[in-house]
């Protein structure tokens, strides 16, 4: 009887001591909304977002690329794996097929239609980003909920590991995770990028949950004797999601860039029959002198998609931040 009370008090004390954002929160951390008024906050945030040109242009960019990815198989003029223009490739002179009728962007170093590869590459790139984010979010959700909801030693152990993972530069962490796979593939890239995001999500979620946990309505629910599980799932978790959604949007951008960087470093599918922008960009650099457009298109698309997610994420963060109201 007494010990459970003591544990409860300890837990309370512990959370008061580690109020969220005490020390440098990784990225989106700090100024997550204190979502006491979850619904009205979300509603007013949405009202501000609808008028924000940054948000709108980001959403349009993302929408266009999603549409492109969906329609790619139908509008791509050629099979991206076929070496249609192979006879125009002269390896020795670094000569590649130039743009020509039927092949508006010419061919790559194997004579494959570059335009079709660009179109289908959108699928692969977006899939890598989405899967990596979903896996990272899922892992972070589990760890963060464990730490944030239970506190105590679970919290301590989880957060120590999270802090250490956070102190390893993201690309280095991704590479070391990639190294654990004997066979490199697109899947390796997804896992590597996802695992890098897990500690960020975990820490963010725990921080906001601790904040929400101390908020008045949760204290009230606790005082009323609501069960812990009910408090966690019905009160704390839903109110902690705002910053996590914002972070996910930003992570989509980061995932695209990280995946491209990993392909550049040679992590990823050795077989490039399935086109992917990061890999195409890396390869195209060898032919930049004669065929700069081969680098331009994948680079422009990567930048555009990453920018789209960043615009949406940043404007959502701004809209959710009560201090930013003007």
């Amino acid at each position: 009887m007494t010990s459970s009370r003591a544990a409860k008090i300890d837990r309370l004390a512990a959370t008061a001591a580690h109020k969220p954002t005490a020390e440098g929160e990784p990225q989106a951390g700090g100024n997550g909304p204190k979502s006491d008024a979850g619904v009205s906050l979300a509603a007013s945030a949405w009202r501000r977002l609808r008028r924000n040109p940054m948000f709108l242009s980001g959403a349009v960019i993302i929408g266009l690329f999603l549409l492109l990815a969906l329609l790619a198989p139908f509008i791509a003029p050629h099979d991206p794996g076929l070496r249609l223009l192979q006879d125009q490739v002269v390896q020795a002179r670094n000569q590649l097929p130039p743009p020509q009728p039927g092949h508006p962007m010419g061919g790559d170093q194997y004579g494959r239609d570059f335009f079709s590869r660009m179109l289908l590459g959108s699928q692969q790139t977006l899939m890598v980003a989405v899967l990596a984010t979903v896996i990272g979010l899922g892992g972070g959700l589990v760890l963060g909920t464990l730490a944030g909801a239970f506190g105590g030693w679970v919290d301590t152990v989880v957060m120590r590991i999270v802090d250490v993972l956070l102190s390893i530069p993201s690309l280095l962490l991704a590479v070391s995770i990639g190294a654990m796979f004997a066979q490199q593939s697109q899947f390796t890239v997804i896992i590597a990028v996802a695992i890098v995001q897990i500690p960020i999500f975990a820490r963010l979620l725990r921080g906001t949950m601790l904040g929400v946990r101390e908020s008045d309505h949760v204290l009230a629910a606790r005082a009323l004797g609501v069960k812990r599980r009910a408090i966690v799932f019905r009160h704390i978790l839903p109110n902690s999601l705002g910053p996590v959604i914002v972070q996910s949007t930003l992570v989509l951008a980061i995932a695209i860039l990280d995946a491209a960087a990993l392909s550049f470093l040679g992590l990823g599918a050795a077989d490039d029959s399935t086109p992917e922008w990061g890999q195409m960009l890396g390869n195209a650099q060898d032919f930049f002198d004669s065929q700069p457009h081969l680098a331009f298109w994948p680079a422009a698309c990567i930048i555009a998609v990453a920018l789209g997610f960043t615009l949406v994420g940043e404007s959502m963060r701004e809209a959710l931040d009560p201090r930013q109201r003007r």
């Binding site: 990784p26 102190s167 530069p169 550049f264 470093l265 992590l267 650099q285």
Partner: protein, 340 residues
Amino acid sequence: MLRYTIRRVLQLALVVLVLSVLLFAWLRALPGGPVSALLGDRGTAESRAQLREALGLDDPIFVQYFAFLGRALTGDFGTSTGVSPGKPAMELFLERFPATIELSIAAIVIALIGAIPLGYLAARRRGGWFDNASVVGSMIGISIPIFFLAFLLKYLLAIKLGWLPTGGRQSAGLDATRVTGFFVLDGLLTREWDASLDALRHLLLPALALSSIPFAVIFRITRASVLDVMDEDYVRTARSKGLAKRIVRDRHILRNAMLPVVTTVGLQTGALLSGAVLTETVFSWQGVGQALAVGFERKDFPVLQVVIIAAAMAYVLVNLIVDLSYAAIDPRIRTAGKVG
């Protein structure tokens, strides 16, 4: 303040300890296990058995871990198998570390010098075209793959225009005396001015590429922070005193607005080291980042091991220093113990 320092140093020790556990587990998870990971493809059956013995792989896992910890503490991380075969990984790391530090410092200096004034100006002109343009610019800045930016800079300024060298840390044939391993500094110390200038010319492009992310982030933090501070009551008080514009800006706005920027600089260490892997690769900069990239390609796990542990420690150390200096800048933390 002293207690705070001690607490932070203890935290650092804890991080290193947890990191060693993770690293130990990681080595075991590598394809083929630690023996083939550490020996690479060149291991003979005999050397394998030897290493197996040396690592004590038949001992209980705890004994193995403490043996690993002991070796790590003495700097023994094995011998490079791919980057520079035969050389102890630690030695290789120490040789290359100054190059990466030099590059990172140059990048962060560029970012600070450029981003803070820009962030301040953007905040003062909130909502104007300059503000909007620079905010969108900073978002584009973080959306450019850094290896592509590095490549583009190299292609345009070095290959096409020939203004700057395409890579490396110094021109071939230049006989410079080495003191610290920081090439620019070495030239200054030994009064070999031409060596300093040459090193600086090599440094400029990679540092510029590497500074892109910190530049964008510091710009945004400065802008947001100045916006926050400008709305503070004490800035209104300062204006009510009729103070000169310069004093209101420097003493009342910037001195407060710089506090979050200081923290950000520490947090950018990670981004710098990640970026260094890509930038160094593009510019053949003989640093730790390039060692990691090559090490990954050639499965040189001893080198990867050292680089990862060193990068994490550098990150934690830099942030420790930043937090301590933050405490020195902010009187609210500095004098926290003294309030009666």
